[in-house]
Structure formats: C-alpha cells, structure tokens
Assembly symmetry: C2
Homo-oligomer: 199 residues x 2
C-alpha cells in the first residue's frame, strides 16, 4: 500500500495497534473516519483526549472515575459493609451488569505474580488496608479470576485480612450453568466436587 | 452502565459508531485507550485530526491524497493511456494490492442511482471528461461493482465515451476461481455462460 497518503497510513497504524483490530479492519475504520462529517471526527479525537486526561482512579476504590470519588463509592444506596475485590475495572463492569450486587468494590489493578516481579506492594493492597480502617466493613469478597495469580492474590489477602477479624469469602467456581459435565475440564470438575453443597 | 464516568461513556459511544464495532468491542477498545501510554493516545487523536484535515481528493483522479496530485497520477512509471474507473478509494486499494495494474484510476465517489436521487452530475463524471481532454488516454476500464447501480453507471459512461473514440472495457464477471458451479447463483452462472471465451 505504498501509494497511500502518509496521514491515512498513520491512522491505519493507530487502529491496527488496538486489540482485536487486524490490518483490514483498521483500513476499513480509517476510510470510515475519512468519510465521517468533520464534526464527528473532531468529537472522536476529543473523546480520546478527554478520556485520557480526565479519567483517573477513585481515591477510595481505585476504579476509573472523572471525579475525586467515584459514583459507586459516593452512592448512599450501596452497602458499605461489603467490598468486592477485583483485578481490573472491567471486572467491576461485569458485576454491575448483573444489577444484583449492592456493595462496594476495590480494584487492585493487577494480581500478585512473583514470576513477573509483581509483589503485593505493586498492586493496590495498601489502599485496601487503608480504607478498611474506617470500620464499616464486615465482609470482603475475593473476586479475582481462578488463575494461579488470581488464587495466589486471594490467598494472600485472605491470610492478611482474616486475623483482623473480617469475614473473607471467595466466588464459587464450578460447572457453569448450561455447561455439560462431559466437557468440563478436570480442574473445574474437581473444584465442583470439592465445593459441593448440601441439598 | 450508569456508573461509568462520562468521558469514558463518550469514548465508548464514538467507538460504537464505527462500522462492525459492537457495544462490547467498543468498551474493550475504550478501556485499552485508558491503559495506553499518554503519548500513544495523543498520537491516535492527532492521527484522526490529521487524516481528516490533510486528506482530500486528488485534482486529477479524485482518489484520497494529502498532496495536490496523488502519488499514482504523479508517477512516471504508470501508463497514462489506461484509466480504471472505480466507485470508491477502497476499490483502488484492491487493485493496488495486485501489483499488476500499471495504468491510472478515476474514482467516481458513488454510482448513478436514480432511486436514491443520485444522477450523473452527483458523481465525478465531469472530472473524468475533463481529464480525457489532454488526449493521452486510449482505454477506459469500467471497474464498478456488478450491482444494478454499478452496471448502470458502466453503461452510462460507455455510451458517453465510445462515441468519442475511446476503447471502453468492463471487468470480466463469472465463476470465481476456486468456486464451484454447483453453488454458483443463477445470475453469476448465466453471466459465465454468456461471456464464455474460446479455448
């Protein structure tokens, strides 16, 4: 594509750098931008800059917000006695989609992973301990992913928090609803067996 | 997602407006932008503005360019006696991918479509007639899509240009290479039969 004008090539490059966007999709999106009304393209560029400059972490839960304290931490309708600890702001989104959970969150922005040189001090554990000091919290739900790092982080926090008198729980892991035993992997099946509940 | 900060929501909206980008992908891309180094996000916003402001149509062939005359029209290595007439800049890209065609292009930026109120004066036919006046051109290849509008535009241009003494040709349409007769639609099969060539 040597003949393409440089600004168009650069726009294609930027789109290609996004996750899940291949070369062809990037070209299609770049051409779409060229066909857009100028106002819309300017709005898009501004939205990128605005998001990047105005969004930071909530002082309390470390989730993304454009205020000092995010809407969830600030809401009088949320139950301040439960904190759900997650790895990433995207996990908050998954729980909020349910519209079931009424407690607060704490976003770690990472998981403990000694192999990658990420220790407890590299993620937002300090901030979690700090906010626990106001005394409202009763239960802390470990909602990290069921990976090695997720389990290790949940274990680490559990050992840290239980002696302080908090109820620490972990999400249930097992056969997904609609899944079939026949196709479940061994680890999942084992977990489902171990964590069986009485009927 | 009522709790998401406004600048993030707006960025998600802008991504959702792009073709083929659904709600979930838009969210993923917006979160990715938030995680990007600031320089890269600024570069992305600038690339959108740059492309939008610096890219316009080539004075001669009407393809996208950031110069007055595009690299293809300006190249001494291209054959100025053949012009390939296409609907859209993306079609130029398809031909350039071949690295076979050495002539020039003319981008119509649309097709004649009376039902949509698009007459010959709404697309770049005037500009095609103008550039033909320098006398270099021998053959004009109609490379519009094999749709009703594409065929109508090719026919219209052919009737206009043939009396002026130009050789006017049309892309071949038929069974695609690797395709199977059994699965070809009737129109394609009929076309392949009509346009059979002697061996």
């Amino acid at each position: 594509m040597g003949y393409l004008p440089v600004p168009l090539k650069q726009l294609i490059e930027h789109f290609s750098a996004l996750p899940g966007i291949g070369r062809k999709t990037a070209q299609r999106l770049a051409f779409y931008i060229l066909d857009m009304p100028e106002e819309q393209a300017k709005g898009f560029a501004k939205a990128i800059l605005d998001a990047k400059t105005s969004i930071h972490n909530c002082k309390i839960c470390q989730n993304f917000t454009d205020k000092e304290i995010c809407d969830i931490c600030d809401s009088p309708e949320r139950d301040p006695s439960v904190i759900c600890v997650v790895e990433d702001p995207k996990d908050v989104m998954a729980f909020e989609r349910l519209q079931e959970y009424k407690g607060l969150y704490h976003v770690l922005h990472g998981l403990i992973s000694p192999l990658d040189g990420i220790g407890p001090e590299s993620i937002r554990i300090k901030e979690l301990l700090q906010r626990l000091q106001n005394g409202d919290v009763r239960e802390i739900i470990m909602a990290t992913n069921p990976t090695i790092e997720g389990e290790a982080t949940a274990m680490y926090l559990s050992k840290l928090l239980k002696p302080l008198g908090y109820k620490v729980s972990r999400l249930a892991f097992g056969i997904p609803i609609g899944g079939e035993l026949e196709y479940a992997d061994n680890v999942t099946l084992n977990r489902a067996l171990e964590n069986r509940t009485e009927l």
